[in-house]
Amino acid sequence: MSKRLFVKGNEAAAMGAVEAGCRYYFGYPITPQSDIPEYLSRVLPGLNGEFIQAESEIGAINMLLGASATGARAMTSSSSPGISLKQEGISYMAGAELPGVIINISRSGPGLGGIDASQSDYFQCVKGGGHGGYHIPVLAPNSVQEMYDLTMHAFDLADRYRTPVMLLGDSVIGQMKEALIPNPRPATELPAKGWEVRGKGGAEQRVVKSLFLGDGELEAHNWHLHAKYQVMKEKECISEEYETADACLIVAGFGSVSRIAHTAVTMARAEGMKVGLFRPVTLFPFPEKALAQAAGRAGKVLVVELNTGQMVEDVRLSVGAAAQVSFYGRPPGAGSLPSPEELLEVIRKNYDESAR
């Protein structure tokens, strides 16, 4: 039985990485994620691991690429502007099918923006981000416990599908302290590697690359990647539902805002409104089927995001004509985080009185 700890979300993610067997970390300081490199700079040397504070985000992601190419479990972390810089390396890793975990404790933008809780990088994370039309799995924790659990899961997904995986949080999830039960890493069956560079040792040469110039090679490679994404959509969707069974209105939100929405839904229930919450935990693959089912029963979905409308596009694609979709967004910035009471007011406006 694991002990109960009281830690920050960022520390929980770093602890989850260590528990998952990650021994190589490459990063660069940026608020609000610097607890992660600080924690790992203390811990990894004692575990026979390596910590490097890189010269830049670009340096860090390419060190991750190199360590990952040897088959090692490795990680980097950053926040929005730094993630923009890492996109080059993420695209190369996606192209070369290299596993690796990237923690993005996102902040507000565009530009230097601010350091407040934000969901304005949904498109960047979920729709590829770098050049070349790829996807990477994106996990969106909403608690300190999930920062730990989903970081471990991210490493397994990365190895299972030979892909970079992103954990997307923000300053609320990264900076808050909650109870954490640091459970041991769950047993998982993972495919044997056999692609990693190791020095050929008299065996066949191995090359880790993303350049394909032969006739038809790159098209075939892209179809191969596409097929992997289809398998992920079938097998790896995660979502959480609260009070959706009899709901006439589904509130949909991920990450930090889902916690506020959860309180607002509870308050609405106390007023007699049949409201539920749908929380995508994987943003790619997006839990289309589960959402479509819940939305089809309710007939109405209210999407809440800390931006001007991004995930709402995936909600609309998922539910099609089965439900009416409305949106409430708050672009990030100091003082823009909605209170449960504010969300309750939005729920009241969107709730069909005849459904009571």
Binding site: E55, I58, N62, L65, G66, T70, R198, G199, Q205
Partner: protein, 246 residues
């Protein structure tokens, strides 16, 4: 009959795609010779960079990771830290190392990563068709400096071997050329010495190799070869600029 000359074991028995008169083939051979000398082929991980040399995995019979443009020293850092028992080298051109990858090379060198960097300086971007490089000589005409490199606007060519020699983490930094049999023999010795530093775990080693690019210089192979000695060596002097004592 005694065989006195043969293809290095670390080099595949294939034709290269390099242009006639290009020095990459010679430099590949010298790098393979050094790998053979130390018997490290089976534990070598090469890092290919963006440029004409990206296809080095087609010529060297070793494991290879392909790096994004300029990032080979960072990729090599990740490889070496995760597999400290491996022998790691990068092979980079002048656009890759001295322009887009300046931060990566300086910091890998300054950390004293236990890797070897082979830097091929031919004063131009070869793969993309002969544009101005950070090493292009003042007055040299390229496809993006059609009136000649203008020092007042484009700056002066960067001498990387001397620059890196200033950094504390660098164990060995040298510049060689392969435009004459004498220079090739000297280059062979220097590349062996640089690889030797890593073979003994003594830290970061760097060899800059002056190289001809007849195609993008608009010269025949003989004239291009002559230009290395006539124009490049006077600005990029050959020599060992740093050599930490063993």
């Amino acid at each position: 009959m005694q065989q006195v000359f043969q293809r290095p074991k670390s080099l595949k028995d294939v034709q290269t795609h390099f242009c006639p008169g290009c020095h990459h083939g010679t430099i590949h051979r010298l790098v393979a010779d050094a790998m053979d000398l130390y018997g490290v082929q089976d534990r070598t991980i090469g890092v290919a960079s963006v440029g004409c040399s990206v296809f080095l995995y087609g010529y060297f019979d070793i494991d290879v990771v392909e790096a994004p443009h300029g990032r080979a020293p960072a990729v090599a850092t990740g490889v070496k830290r995760a597999r400290p028992d491996s022998f790691v080298f990068t092979y980079q051109g002048d656009g890759d190392l001295a322009a887009i990858g300046t931060a990566e090379i300086i910091h890998a060198a300054n950390r004293g990563e236990d890797i070897t960097v082979v830097f091929v300086n031919n004063t131009t971007y070869g793969m993309t068709g002969g544009q101005m490089a950070p090493t292009t000589l003042v007055g040299q005409k390229t496809s993006t400096s059609p009136y000649g490199r203008d020092k007042s606007k484009d700056g002066s060519p960067i001498r990387m071997a001397e620059l890196l020699a200033q950094l504390g983490g660098v164990a060995y930094s040298a510049r060689v050329a392969v435009d004459s049999p004498k220079h090739v023999l000297e280059a062979k010795k220097v590349i062996r010495e640089a690889f030797g530093y890593q073979a003994q775990g003594k830290g970061f080693s760097f060899v800059e190799v002056l190289s001809a690019c007849p195609t993008n210089w608009g010269m025949n192979p003989l004239k291009a070869n002559a230009r290395v000695g006539e124009e490049m060596i006077p600005y990029f002097p050959l020599g060992v600029f740093k050599k930490e004592e063993a």
